[in-house]
Amino acid sequence: MIHYRKPIPERIFDVVNVLLLALFAFACLYPMYQSLILSLNDGKDAMRGGIYFLPRKWTLDNYKAILSNTRLLDSFVVTVARTVIGTALSILITSMMAFSLSKKDLFLGKFYTVLCIITMYFGGGLIPYYLLIRSLHLIDNFWVLVLPGLLSIWNMLVFKSFFSDIPESLEESARIDGANYITIFFRIIMPVSLPAYAALSLFSAVGLWNEWFSAMLFINKRQDLMPLQSILNSIINQTTAIEELQKKTNAAGAIQQLSNITTRSIIVTNMVFISAPIILLYPFLQKYFVKGVMLGSVKG
């Protein structure tokens, strides 16, 4: 390479470009950072405002408070359970279907594919879905957090195109030895498709960890079955209701905080707690996420 001084407009362009990108990255990172420092700051002190870059009064009380809450522990177990069970089952049945559909001579194969594709364009709508779940007695039932989302058509199509690219010859010797397709699937196809499994499992797991809507609709009375996202949602909205009330009655501070822990500090601490597993694992898993996107886009 020949090194030469770049013309001034180009240098200005470089500086502006880097600054703008840094600004956007800052905007992406800052909310997470501020929640973290607020969760490490004394709740009552935080009400004075002005905590933007460093905690003023360090404390771990907020974490002690939320972790001593048995309700949160139940939620944590439920969330982990629905994420692990849901991901495992979903990836298994989705990829099994995809494998069968990747066989061109599958009897009724076209019909199954069309059945799947139709649901990407049209569904019964929210109310019939709600009534169906109710008639299946899935309300206030753990399995409502797992079963309805088990088949992802999108993932199925990605798996299918992935399996279609696996050379026939890999299976052939096993077929000659008389192995059935189920054995071939678990012994040969799954091991050679690990990158696809890793990427799609991660997407599925993050989706289940973050999903809040089904619990809001279908977990009504069983507090112990509430996933973490629902708990956070309900705390956020209780607080906002209290704040509204304070504003309306014009009696700010009428609700005396008994300790140094405020509802607002509980909220941010919960936000950090819920997002921590994803954010901590994310840098190590990033390449799989990117791979997942590419898998999907190749198929289009």
């Binding site: 013309p7 180009e10 470009n17 990108l21 956007f24 990255a25 992406c28 990172l29 997470m32 929640s35 607020l38 405002g49 933007y52 099994m96 279907m97 069968s100 001579d105 599958l106 009897f107 199954y112 799947c116 364009y121 049209f122 569904g123 019964g124 709508g125 929210l126 109310i127 019939p128 879905y129 709600y130 009534l131 169906l132 299946l136 309805p148 088990l150 088949l151 026939e168 052939e172 077929r175 000659i176 189920i182 973050n210 999903e211 809040w212 809507f213 949602n233 956020i236 909205n237 906002t240 909220i267 936000m271 819920i274 997002s275 954010i279 996420f289 990117v290 996107v293 590419m294 289009g300």
Partner: protein, 329 residues
């Protein structure tokens, strides 16, 4: 081997179609021979039939008067009554306006950002800086909407960062309650959407850019092309195909103005100062059908949206598919 014979058998059974009696036999034997493949379809098929096709039976509710006390069997047929009520409802024009205007604005302002981001990232010299920006900007995509809404409430509260900055810059005289003023709500929705999705959305463009042959840039260097010339002559044409496809596909989503963000940023629709600007078709279905328990009416409103949406999606995907073959692959 067995596959080959399989196909041979299929072909034979097709060619011998004239002998009608052999056809069902061939089908059954094919089904039996494929018992393993068919078994592997079964679990997924069951889930699909129950949870995706199950609700479709319920569509008939929109033509009947359903009440929980009477049950489905006794619900009398009422024809298009609920649809007439829907189209005649005072709030209906506003709901449609909100849905289409909001999704168009989200699209117009949100769509270019990942493209810009990818182009800008491509111009960065430092690999570490590029990698760091990518890692950080992908992250919001993996944060749940509940937490994202929590971030918005935190940043926009009276003592939040946004108010602090705007007051310090003398743009506002005092802190503003952003979440209580309807005129800010759509801006908040659009910016939150960009915050959450732009970084991750850039991946597909970056991939298209990385496919560009580096010798093109070298040739342009020799010809004395400047920075912008290279962007417009090489990089943008490289991602043009992807842009066109994604552009067409997003037209199919014009009735999907978003649910999670609107619902959570209005405190589960309990922030009544925002009801008027937040009332999109999905929110309307939820409010009428679930919150007010007007099941038949909610089903009708949902069906209206579903049909219109299916038409839009089919048109968009068909167009994208036809173009895709000629422009992309």
């Amino acid at each position: 081997m067995a596959r080959i014979t399989n196909q041979a058998v299929t072909k034979m059974s097709r060619t011998s179609l004239l002998h009608k009696s052999t056809k069902p036999y061939a089908k059954r034997s094919r089904l039996l021979r494929q018992w393993d493949l068919q078994l592997m379809v079964l679990p997924a098929l069951l889930v699909l039939l129950v949870f995706s096709y199950g609700p479709m039976w319920g569509i008939s509710l929109s033509f009947r008067d359903y009440s929980i006390y009477k049950g489905l069997g006794d619900a009398p047929w009422v024809g298009f009554k609920h649809f007439q009520m829907l189209f005649g409802a005072i709030e209906f024009p506003k709901v449609m306006f909100n849905t289409i205007a909001l999704s168009l604005l989200k699209f117009a302002l949100g769509f270019p950002v990942p493209i810009l981001l990818a182009l800008m990232l491509n111009e960065v010299h430092s690999r570490y800086f590029k990698k760091a920006v990518q890692t950080i900007t992908y992250m919001p995509n993996f944060i749940s909407w509940v937490v994202a809404a929590g971030f918005v409430f935190m940043l926009l509260s009276r003592d939040g960062l946004v108010n602090a900055v705007l007051v310090a810059l003398n743009i506002f005289d005092g802190p503003v309650d952003f979440m209580l003023q309807p005129e800010y709500f759509w801006t908040i929705l659009i910016l939150t959407g960009i915050w959450k999705g732009a970084g991750f959305g850039a991946i597909i463009y970056l991939a298209a850019i990385s496919n560009v042959d580096p010798s093109l840039y070298e040739a342009a260097d020799i010809d004395g092309a400047g920075r912008f010339r290279k962007i417009f002559a090489i990089t943008i044409p490289a991602i043009q195909g992807v842009i066109v496809i994604l552009l067409i596909l997003s037209i199919g989503n014009i009735l999907n103005a978003g649910f999670d963000d609107i619902f959570l940023l209005t405190n589960n629709m309990r922030n009544y100062s925002l009801t008027d600007v937040a009332n999109t078709i999905d929110i309307y279905v939820f409010r009428e059908g679930i919150m007010n328990r007007r099941y038949s009416y909610g089903t009708a409103a949902g069906l209206f949206k579903g049909i219109a949406n299916a038409i839009l999606l089919t048109t968009a995907n068909f167009t994208a598919g036809r173009l895709g073959r000629s422009t992309l692959w």
